[in-house]
């Protein structure tokens, strides 16, 4: 049984169709990366899957329960860490986790025990009795994650868990997500960071303007775009000759500048010695060499015609309900 199954899911806000009939399946024990720019429909989808928002059409089940008909069973099976860590700044970390344990129906003693264990796990035990308002962004995210785990959910929803975090905090969250997944938790992770999806996800769904435009493993999606290429920085005056030599090995790609030669190689790294040997035999000096693989951004560009990460600098956002 899939952990998450979605068919034709839709959500409209007035005239605006924020999610336009998406289909997706997440296998048990998988990390599913839901990738898209601001306003693409990621958060709206997560809110429907976590029963916080009623769909306008289609159906979805999570942990085997329908998100509309069996909403409470869904809520008992999932952990949710929403965008921007919705934490009460006046509560202490310990109070928050204990409240979450009560909300999930844990008996008081078990709730206290679980809270202590989770605070230890996310390395917040030392600050557990400080008010959340004094925590750093990374600490808040870790606390939010701990709160989502209090009842050991089978499916965990993380809505942009590392947005706005520094690289070290981001890595800490990634490690925790991997550890949870190793323990068997299915993770549905929305992100606007290509690297995050690439690093963490077993499968990726790319959403743009409310529609899923591509789905598959990161590798399969990148493979669809084409072969990797070797980027060679060539000594002055030898570029034309290098291009002639490389054209015999693979397809030449449009050059970035007058110093580089880009050649597509069918077998990736295995073709590098061949390229180097051919250039060496032709007496061409190579100043540097890099194997460049297609990225998820290339996939995004291929499917939508625009870049993902470039758009993130612009203010976006999904439709706001009236």
């Amino acid at each position: 049984m899939p952990a998450i199954e979605v068919e034709g899911l839709e959500r409209a806000f007035g005239e605006v169709l924020a999610v336009q009939g998406i289909d997706l399946t997440v296998a048990e024990g998988e990390i599913y990366g839901f990738l898209g720019p601001n306003g693409a429909g990621k958060t709206t989808t997560v809110r429907m899957l976590t029963t916080l928002l009623l769909p306008s059409g289609g159906r979805a089940s999570v942990a085997g329960h329908d998100v509309v008909a069996d909403a409470r069973q869904v809520r008992a099976s999932i952990g949710v860490a929403l965008q921007e860590a919705a934490l009460d700044p006046l509560m202490t970390g310990r109070e928050l986790i204990r409240l979450q344990a009560t909300l999930q129906g844990l008996p008081p003693a078990a709730g206290r025990e679980r809270a202590d264990a989770l605070l230890e796990r996310v390395d917040l035990a030392a600050v557990a009795d400080r008010r959340v308002g004094g925590y750093s962004g990374g600490m808040k995210r870790r606390l939010d994650l701990a709160a989502a785990l209090v009842h050991e959910p089978s499916v965990l929803f993380l809505d942009e868990p590392t947005t706005g975090l520094d690289p070290v905090s981001r890595k800490t969250i990634w490690e925790e997500v991997r550890a949870l997944n190793d323990d068997g938790t299915t993770v549905f992770l929305t992100t606007q960071y290509l690297e995050e999806a690439d690093q963490l996800a077993d499968s990726v769904g790319i959403i743009d303007s409310g529609r899923i435009v591509a789905e598959g493993t990161p590798e399969s999606l990148k493979d669809e775009i084409g072969d990797p290429h070797v980027e060679l920085l060539i000594g002055e005056g030898e570029v034309a000759e290098a291009e002639r030599v490389c054209a015999e090995i693979g397809r030449l790609l449009p050059p970035k500048d007058g110093k580089r030669v880009l050649v597509e190689v069918e077998n990736g790294a295995a073709d590098i010695p061949r390229v180097v040997r051919a250039l060496d035999e032709a007496g061409i000096a190579v100043e540097s060499l890099e194997l460049v693989r297609p990225t998820l951004d290339d996939v995004f560009v291929d499917k939508t015609g625009h870049h993902l990460e470039k758009e993130e600098s612009e203010d976006g956002g999904e439709p706001v309900p009236a």
């Binding site: 806000f13 709206t44 809110r47 976590t50 029963t51 916080l52 928002l53 009623l54 409470r72 069973q73 809520r75 008992a76 999932i78 949710v80 929403l82 965008q83 921007e84 919705a86 934490l87 009460d88 006046l90 509560m91 109070e95 409240l99 979450q100 009560t102 909300l103 999930q104 129906g105 008996p107 008010r131 709160a147 309900p321 009236a322």
Partner: protein, 261 residues
């Protein structure tokens, strides 16, 4: 643990959080304690002689008369503060954490109301203590004091329901905060601070039908003269009416919030 017991634990936990939140955020506590206490001090000091006016109900002192009004003011502002705090929870997404939990969602509203009712209890105890310290008699004795406490606590729950409904419907703390002047209008157009008999029209008629007047008189009577069954029943009926209105509005606003996300 059955569903009801789980919900009761959630209501208790959320109520406790709501009280902690109020005591940790001075701007929520000030309207409940500081403003009504100051107004009580100013009015008692400045208008104490008004008890000599013809038509003023027989009271031991103006302080004794004013206690019920101060409790009402504090209770109304507790309801307003509760609504503001609830709206802040919605604005910062904290309610999503609660809505994503496997509990009956109305328990979340009830948790907030339990906290507001506890603040009403606190308000009644605070002003009874002030009254007793400064020499006011509680003519109804311990039963009268207990009745006043009960009525103020229940009123806080009732008014909190209206505050919660507005918070849920608008999701905006500034809108709920904007109701503050309205709270004062409702208070001043009741018999909270002045006897109905001495008011002039149209305030007199408005106060006569203002449900708050019935509650005020129900709280005041055990303090200034003793428990009166008719006034107690009228106060209970007024509270029950506001409770029903608050719960219906909250329930509808909750459905709206869940529908629009």
């Amino acid at each position: 643990m059955n569903d009801l017991a789980k919900s009761a634990r959630v209501v208790r936990a959320l109520g406790a959080r709501s009280i902690r939140q109020t005591f940790r955020r001075p701007q929520l506590l000030a309207p409940i304690v500081v403003f009504p206490t100051l107004l009580l001090a100013i009015q008692t000091g400045g208008a104490g002689a008004s008890i000599e006016l013809p038509g003023f109900p027989p009271v031991q002192s103006f302080l004794q008369f004013m206690l019920a009004g101060s409790m009402m003011q504090s209770m109304m502002l507790a309801g307003n503060s509760g609504g503001i705090a609830f709206a802040v929870d919605i604005e910062m997404g904290f309610t999503d954490r609660l809505f994503a939990a496997p509990i009956p969602r109305f328990a979340i509203v009830l948790g907030r109301l339990a906290g507001t009712a506890a603040l009403g209890l606190f308000a009644s105890l605070w002003f009874l203590a002030i009254g007793l310290i400064f020499g006011a008699h509680i003519e109804g004795g311990v039963p009268g004091a207990l009745l006043a406490i009960l009525l103020v606590t229940a009123s806080a729950l009732a008014v909190g329901g209206i505050g919660a409904a507005i918070a849920l419907r608008t999701g905006s703390a500034s809108v709920v905060q904007g109701l503050f002047p309205l709270v004062l209008v409702v208070l001043f157009l009741s018999s909270a601070f002045f006897p109905q008999e001495l008011m002039i029209e149209p305030a007199k008629t408005i106060a006569q039908y203002n449900p708050l007047s019935f509650i005020v008189e129900g709280v005041r009577e055990p303090i200034i003269s003793g428990i009166d069954a008719t006034q107690t029943l009228e106060a209970v009926a007024a509270i029950a009416g506001i409770v029903v209105l608050g719960l219906v509005l909250s329930s509808r606003a909750l459905k709206h919030r869940l529908r629009v996300g």
